[in-house]
Amino acid sequence: MTQGAMGMAARPAIDYAALLKDAALAAFVVFFLAFPLIGLQTYDQGGALAVRGRWDLLAYAVIIGFVGRFLFQLAMLFKPVKSTKEPSDASLARQRQIGMIIRYALLGIALTMPFLPFSDRSWLDRGINVLIYVMLGWGLNIVVGLAGLLDLGYVAFYAVGAYSYALLSLNFGLNFWVCLPLAGLFAALFGVLLGAPTLRLRGDYLAIVTLGFGEIIRVVLLNWGSLSGGPNGIASIPRMDFFGLFPFGNREGAFHTVFGIEYERTHQIIFTYFVILALALMTNWMVNRLRKLPLGRAWEALREDEIACKSLGMNPTNTKLSAFAIGAMLGGFAGSFFAAKQGFINPESFTFMESATILAIVVLGGMGSQMGVVFAAIFLVLLPEVTRDFEQSRMLLFGAAMILIMVWRPKGVISHREPTLRLNPVKGA
């Protein structure tokens, strides 16, 4: 009761004069920018360039700026005052319940997706894409979200995984299921290779080095033609078979004859979908489990304060390297899956843009949050697909949506951090 009363009292009276002044200033800025950009148009007049004014459009822009700024400021005033108090047990328990329901609902959707009436090849492909990014997001989350090491070259490990599978399967005829752990191992090795020289770096400096590392891997792949096929990449990589037992395809001894069902081309895609779903769920389980182990807590402690970690006798070198290695390994798994699914890879798939997308997924989702990564991956992968009709303004919409999310939730969609263990369990959970 008192809290409510205080909340009322704390709300200041609205100072309309200041709001209008602020809106006028915004309108002036819009005018200043829009005058040359929108207000003036050049056109061709008998071979010479002439200028004409588009004053109506300019006026619209200024009005939109004025009204928009005014409404935005007004909305900010009515934003609920965030309480700094710890949430009560009841609200925590309710939050958890809702979280659980959403989690199981999403899992249910993911498990039944291939059998839903609308899901055709293209939907399955989208599902696979989303899951690849979810897995990559969860993997990068170890490095960025938990250990607090800003990694802008994560795609390098994805590339190492992909090329590992492609080369191992083509040169040594190894099966996908044998290559998968090997690819993870190679990627982990590269993780240590990146981690070792950057142990002393943090923040911006680490970001620059990892960015360079990602580019080095890509450039090497681009130029080492004899190994990687250079810009032409590697084609006709074997697709995955049914756990090394029998292949897919319309022939004797393949998947459909073993199970005695009608041949269909989607069988392989559905299987592929479930493989990446299983890989993603395994990643999720592993990260959740690691968080509750001393290693995971050490990562988080390292993110919070490295000097304090040292003073408590923790070896920061091992802790950091293990974060790089395990994050890289998960990226390597995803990479070898990607190669097996595509059947063709070249360095174009492993540009900085990919690293940026994966990082955006982690940051938008909320650093360290598992569910946040899922939402962000769905959003970032599906939005460009959905907005395909607005060809020209697609990236504009995409950018605007990202800005809106960051304004609305600066710490990511889900910023709540659940403690790894509690002394007093939440009542009612």
Binding site: T84, E86, M286, R289, L290, L293, P294, L295, R297, A298, E300, A301, E304, D305, I307, A308, C309, K310, S311, L312, G313, M314, N315, P316, S322, R417, P419, T420, L421, R422, L423, N424
Partner: protein, 288 residues
Amino acid sequence: MTQYDDSAVKEPLLQVDGLTMRFGGLIAIDNLSLVAGKGQITAIIGPNGAGKTTLFNCLTGFYKPTEGNLSFFHPAKTLQLQKLENHKVAQVAGVVRTFQNIRLFPKMTLLENLIVAQHNALMKASGYTFLGLFNLGGYAKAEKAAVEKAKYWLDQIGLTHRADEEAGNLPYGAQRRVEIARAMCVGPRMLCLDEPAAGLNPSESLELNTLLFRIRDQEKIGILLIEHDMSVVMKVSDRIYVLDHGKRIAAGTPDEIRNDPIVIKAYLGEDEDAELPPEIAADLAMRG
């Protein structure tokens, strides 16, 4: 090497011999020697810039001393702290410190802070993560024991009821206590406290005194204490060393220090020179 008489310390735990720390032309610590005992609270005081925190940084491996030995009498064998890697000082020797500007893990809960302090023991129990990942090899039991230990220290600092709150949300005085509890969870043989009473109100200072006595008497470990708050130093210390400009200028019990003219001079400044009686001036000149 030692030209001082530190025989008053009965059970030496740490012996600093001729420690010198130079930063370029600046001599932060100049040929410093001192002894800290087991089951004793040894205070190090001195004006700002006397080299107290530098001494801590040398002891706990954050700086490599330019010269000198830091012998630590571990029950198994005598260790040279200056030769140990940074984190090994806490891990192997059991010399654990707190910081002048509190360094908790602010986004983690109090309980998690105290569990992270038991990292090395838990890491072993979890089979370096490989066994713990599948809950094998008795990790659950080890974690339970770690929680019990954390709970014990939370009880000692009176913060058990806030165990599941983020450390960064606690008031300043409580954070200071948590940092001490976290250091105790490492299982130290010697606890180095860098200005634990800074920013505490008088009643919190009193609580701190009680906590320090409890740690000294129940855990029987050595405590090394840097402190400016004389109400704490004079009450809890068994022995005090006074530093000025990186040099040791006095040592003794709180009573001896309180009445030492050299200490008074170091604290009150050079202007007092004229007022000093001739015998003290002579004494000063002799001690250099």
